[in-house]
């Protein structure tokens, strides 16, 4: 077999996993990353063990892979780089990788798109006061805080009442986000349990539409939350949040569905479970490569059971194809590697 080259766009967990699998088979992989370091979003996630028991969030699965990829002889990593131009003749792609002002030309027999996602911008949902009210955070903020500074010192004082609002930027027809982000229920419940563990007195309310309890691990976690008397599930999405400066709290207005009346409740901390949006680079990639996207902006595979795209030789890996958890992303990324190997 002639020596083959593959280009992987995006060095998040999906791109890294696919790159490793392919490189292990003796193929040279060019891994292009926009950021100055590899790891993508997973790098920002904290370990979500509760009482030192792993809740299988998968955030730790990145580190081994980063260690392996850095020393892999078949993988060449291009950091802080973009793809400036691409052309195809016969079955070969000719790609120009731009790094500051320098351009590296690379030949590739196949291209894997692993551009991941962009977290939903919570400020665009102004009624929840993100960015205005100091006690309103996103799930990602909490993750980053837990990862960098540990579970404490989240606020000046110990929170007594915490609320999570689910589906912020998911399942929302007004924003043309008519899809479920699949991960928010999982991380929100894990974070809720971590907050409960850190502050034993705290009461947590979770505002939700439907709990997306898929996967057997998650169901156990959900049962555990339901058994906790200090975690309450409220089937309603609040209409607005308003700052109460005197008590340093945030007031949430929602409709109580069982009694159909409006209720106001005050919280010391409000967490918005923001969803997954197609990566903001998707449009650029779409115009460069000519891959089909679905109505929401995720890339569309040729059929439901494949990672191939409408462009021959271009494959999809991970969340750029649709929302997935870390372990689902890894599985998808490995499947992509199998499809690519078959194609080569």
């Amino acid at each position: 077999m002639k020596h083959k080259n593959v280009l992987v766009v995006g060095a998040g967990i999906a791109g890294i996993t696919t790159a490793l699998e392919i490189a292990d088979r003796g193929i040279t992989v060019h891994l292009v990353e926009r950021d100055s370091s590899i790891g993508g979003h997973v790098k920002r996630f904290c370990c979500k063990a509760v009482d030192d028991v792993c809740t299988k969030c998968g955030a730790c699965l990145l580190k081994d892979r980063i260690d392996r990829i850095k020393i892999h002889p078949n993988i060449k990593i291009y950091l802080s780089s973009n793809i400036s131009d691409i052309s195809k003749s016969k079955d070969k792609f000719f790609v120009q990788i731009k790094h500051s002002n320098k351009i590296n030309p690379v030949e590739a027999d196949a291209i894997i798109i692993a551009t991941g996602f962009t977290p939903f911008d919570a400020t665009s949902k102004g009624r929840f006061g993100y960015g205005r009210i100091p006690y309103v955070f996103t799930g990602l903020d909490i993750e980053e805080h837990f990862k960098e500074k540990g579970k404490f010192n989240l606020l000046d004082e110990i929170p007594k009442r915490v609320a999570f609002i689910q589906c912020v930027g998911s399942r929302d027809e007004h924003l043309n986000k008519g899809y479920c982000s699949r991960v928010c229920c999982r991380y929100a419940l894990r974070l809720a349990m971590m907050i409960r563990e850190a502050f034993p007195e705290v009461k947590v309310d979770i505002f939700y539409m439907d709990i997306q309890s898929s996967g057997k691990e998650f169901n156990m976690l959900y049962d555990q939350c339901k058994d906790d008397s200090k975690i309450e599930f409220i089937k309603s999405i609040p209409t607005k949040a308003q700052e109460i400066p005197e008590t340093k709290s945030v007031r949430v207005l929602y409709e109580d569905m069982t009694e159909t009346k409006l209720v106001e409740k005050d919280y010391d901390l409000l967490v918005l479970s923001i969803g997954i949006m197609p990566s903001k680079d998707n449009q650029i990639i779409e115009s460069l490569f000519g891959i089909n996207t679905d109505e929401f902006g995720f890339f569309e595979p040729v059929d439901n059971f494949s990672t191939r795209t409408n462009v021959q030789g271009v494959f999809l890996s991970g969340v750029c194809e649709g929302p997935k958890s870390i372990s689902e992303t890894i599985r998808h990324a490995e499947k992509t590697a199998v499809d690519v190997m078959e194609y080569l």
């Binding site: 699949r182 439907d210 309890s213 898929s214 996967g215 057997k216 169901n219 439901n304 499947k335």
Partner: protein
């Protein structure tokens, strides 16, 4: 190298086809008389353009074309000895004939069983999703005018059942124009295009209502069919496999241990992989991906014909070994056995290096301190801590 695949459902078949195409010798065993598993009984699967039965037949015909795949139906695994690379298994095939095979790896794709929650309701017929799928294919269904789906009965429905509810609710509404209601705690739409399925069903007139804790006894529903979701159980025989192969299970009895580092397909024993519904709760799409990644992992392991040994495996000082068996009992990876040691001139524990994960449990438990981890010997550590 050869591979043994347990289970001839779609996951097992899919793994077998991939491995067969890569040139491995594959033995696939299925306890039922025919291949295909649960998909054989389904009328349709969301996202699949052809009927599930045709889809399985296509895969089976691919399988049959590959001469390096041997299939045993009505067969089961009786015994497995050895470890990664040199497994040695006995199969009981048709007419209780024993077949012995040598193989390098095992893929467990035993799938799931379902059980219908027991309930009685005097006014209408209660059916489960399995019967519903059969019913849709049959003719009796034409007379239906009102159907109710009851979800999340005693616990949350699994992904498979939740998806089946959405798909069949829409199907009954569109094809038969009958009234369809879905009563559930949570509508599960976590998956590619599932939300679309849900909104389409609503647009077409399926009525979704949120209920909290259904009390069946006091329930008065006027409908022709009351459809309830089955609960998903580990496949019959999981217990036996656990005893034969020593692979760990989670709290609910499904395969694969809680260690995330084993995700997606690894088990606590090297050379044994999981594929499909026996370890994940997912729709066909994910099952296909998963079985392929399991096959790929097995292929990666065996393609080189050599197994790389980790540098940090345990080692035994045979002189010190008192044959107390503590290590054998405590090893979670079945990587220790007893062998005659020529150097020590006696029997002693032996680490099977290719199966060892280097976890260090045996080293920490050995009462005679006869086991040490390479790279982490006592002397080295003592020097480090002064």
């Amino acid at each position: 190298m050869s591979i043994l695949i347990l289970g001839g459902g779609i996951a097992g078949i899919n793994s077998a086809v991939y491995l067969g195409e890569q040139g491995h010798k594959v033995t696939l065993i299925e306890k039922e008389k025919e291949l295909g598993g649960k998909l054989n009984n389904l009328f349709s699967v969301y996202g699949l353009d052809v009927s599930p039965k045709d889809f399985v037949s296509q895969q089976i015909s691919k399988l049959k074309k590959l001469s390096n795949i041997t299939v045993f139906t009505s067969a089961e695994l009786v015994e497995t000895k050895g470890h990664v690379g040199t497994f040695n298994s006995k199969l009981k095939t048709q007419n209780s004939k024993l077949v012995e095979i040598k193989h390098g790896a095992i893929i467990i794709a035993t799938g799931i069983d379902v059980s219908t929650p027991k309930m009685s309701c005097n006014s209408q017929e209660i059916i489960n999703h399995t019967r519903l799928e059969k019913g849709i294919a049959g003719s009796k269904i034409r007379r239906l005018s009102k159907v109710v789906f009851l979800c999340d009965l005693d616990k949350e429905d699994s992904q498979i059942i939740a998806l089946s509810t959405l798909k069949n609710a829409l199907l009954l509404r569109e094809k038969l124009r009958c009234e369809v209601s879905v009563l559930s705690r949570n509508i599960k739409v976590a998956g590619r295009k599932f939300e679309k399925l849900y909104t389409t069903a609503r647009e077409k007139g399926v009525v979704f209502s949120a209920v909290e804790g259904v009390d069946i006894g006091g329930l008065q529903l006027i409908c022709d069919w009351l459809i309830i979701g089955e609960s998903i159980l580990p496949s019959h025989g999981t217990e036996d496999l656990f005893l034969i192969l020593g692979v760990e299970r989670d709290k609910q009895g499904f395969f694969q241990h809680n260690n995330v580092h084993f995700m997606p397909n690894l088990s606590n024993r090297k050379g044994i992989f999981f594929a499909g519904a026996c370890h994940i709760d997912a729709g066909l799409n994910d099952i296909l991906d998963d079985s392929l990644t399991a096959a790929y992992a097995a292929h990666n392991l065996l393609a080189k014909n050599t197994i790389e040994i980790d540098e940090k495996t345990a080692k035994v000082d045979e002189e010190k070994c008192a044959l107390c068996l503590t290590c054998i009992r405590s090893c979670p990876h079945k990587a220790i056995d007893i062998e005659f040691s020529r150097e020590a001139g006696k029997k002693a524990a032996r680490i099977i290096e290719e199966a060892c994960f280097g976890c260090g449990i045996c080293a920490s438990l050995c009462p005679a301190s006869a086991i040490q981890l390479r790279e982490y010997e006592d002397e080295k550590i003592l020097k480090l801590i002064g």
